[in-house]
Amino acid sequence: MKKRYYIVLLRVLAPVLAIVLSALMSSIVILAIGKSPLQVFYTMFKFSLSRLDSVAIMLYNATPLIFSGLAVSIGFRMGLFNIGVEGQYLIGAFLAALAGFSIKGLPAVIHLPLVILCGALGGMMWSFIPIFLKVKRGVHEVISTIMLNYISYSLIHYLIADVFIDKSQKLIQGLGSILSRTPKLSPSAMMPKLHGFLGLFGLQLPRHVYLNWFFPLGILTAALVYYLLMYTPFGFELRAVGQNREAARTVGIEPERVYVIGFLLSGALAGLVGLSDLLSYFGYMDMDFPRNYGFDGIAVALIAQNHPLGIIFSAILFGFLKRGAEGIQTLMGVPREMVSILQALMIMSIVVIAKLMNDYIKRLEKKEEMMVCSSENSSPPA
């Protein structure tokens, strides 16, 4: 029994070790450009955590990553790798924007949920192509989703710059042409900020913070995904397929069906990734719409070891890193890409450490089994 706690402790310790290890390795890069690693990390902490608005920005940064981490983790749980979250959230965000600016006159209670639904639908549509190709034609989902990411970049560019460009914009002085962006979303489609709610507790957030209700919604979604995975028949099937596809087949689970439903679910979550930015900060979609949330989601999911509740914490960790990156760039002149390097090193460290620990735990369990067996054999006959 004592061993059980030990194993749980090891599982929790793995991400912590990975974070420390990758921080140490990235120190080499910092030293290479002649800065002090200690000072860089100290600046990151101080810049992110010393002020209330900074903490709120950190949580705002974490919001899309909760959704993308969840989307990626559902794929991992069933043994598939959804690298396509990147394209899925762009398509989802575009469809949401379309519903936001083309429909007018609806009350917010109907319009906003409709817009969110459109986002999920867009992500789902874009995730249908790779899973269909996988199940029907055996195309590996990694390459097909990467290709679809590139296709989505061009498609979004076309839709924004050529089809749905906002022609009502006023020309800015000194600029020859109008900006490539969609029309502004109607106010009924926008997500309210958390300022009013937090104000009830005496926390006053300044106007330049865009923390909104998508953050609590993300936490709620993580809890729902946790429930789905752990306490529903479908969640059980999904995990069974991820553990051993052929074994699942022999007990009557159809892996192809699980793949399709699971991947569409992953795509639907991916469709929500961009909405926090779209419906609170931007209010329209343009060529500068944030990229890379899909790839960040891979790191978020891996650090959390694909645990839905762990994803909340690892998303906040990456939100912190992003905020800290702005700090070290402005205050110390260290390029913020430092954090990309840190992120890559974290992915590598966590998979290596998790692998080593799993091997170790397996050995522990085997030893325990052997001890039980031998003690049974040696016990004197009654």
């Binding site: 890069v29 990694v142 290709m147 590139y150 296709i151 498609l155 990309s340 390097i341 992915i347 290596v352």
Partner: protein
Amino acid sequence: MFFGELLASSLRMAVPILLTALGAVFTERAGVVNIGLEGMMIVGSFWGALGAYYYGPYFGLLLAMAAGMFMALIHAINTVTFRVDQVVSGVAINILAYGSTRFLSLAIFNMATTSPHVSGLPKINIPVLSGIEFLKPLVTDVSPVIILALVLVPISSFVINRTVFGLRLRSVGENPLAADTLGINVFKMKYAGVLLSGILSGLSGAYLALEHTGMYVEGMTQGEGFIALAAMIFGNWEPKGALWASLLFGFSEALSFRVVEGGVVPYQFIKMIPYVLTLLVLTGVVKKSTGPAASGVPYERGLK
């Protein structure tokens, strides 16, 4: 004349895909999936430009290959020594490549996305053939790297199919346990395959920066590392097959430039062509071709 130019342009477009696809053949035949080829091309393009900027094109090529090999070494340590998921490690390599090149570009050139202009290798005119009018665009002002890439196809084919090294490499990818019992050093062969893929992808990145564009530009690889993987699959895990597949992709890109000039189709759709083609190729071909049996499966001694 038009047709000759189209062919020449196809060849120029095909070379980076071909070099990386050859690398992909080596690593996959050794049983290691390498999604990080794209990242290795990225570091190749950056370090190639960096080396060429300070010490000339030859040094640039060498530095690019070394940088590609270094990334491959990380991938090999992750996947062969620590036996972690090969796709995850490859994705991490890509992120590391993206982050580190941006970081270094800012630190060294003070620009995040481009390097200053760099000069490439001296161009070659192939003597006898350049007299023929029809072939003129194909054989004049040819980059030596193009010739190197084409020469590497039969060499790779020979190495993989006719040498002891190649036999061992293939046996490790097909059945590592059997190879191990025959006394082949499985880990050494896998390292060799992965490192070769890094060297070739680095060279391919350097070709893009030095020979094709004349500078490093962020995102200049445009997913060609992934397309090369598709070319390798389409080419049935054989260097010669990879050549034809790369030429097909190169041709589609070259053709798309001509279509853009026509102005009929919006250019965003033209940009999609290589990626849509990759999807189509994989959809049509995957069920027919089979890769090395143990590709993607980490080898653990004493398993079972």
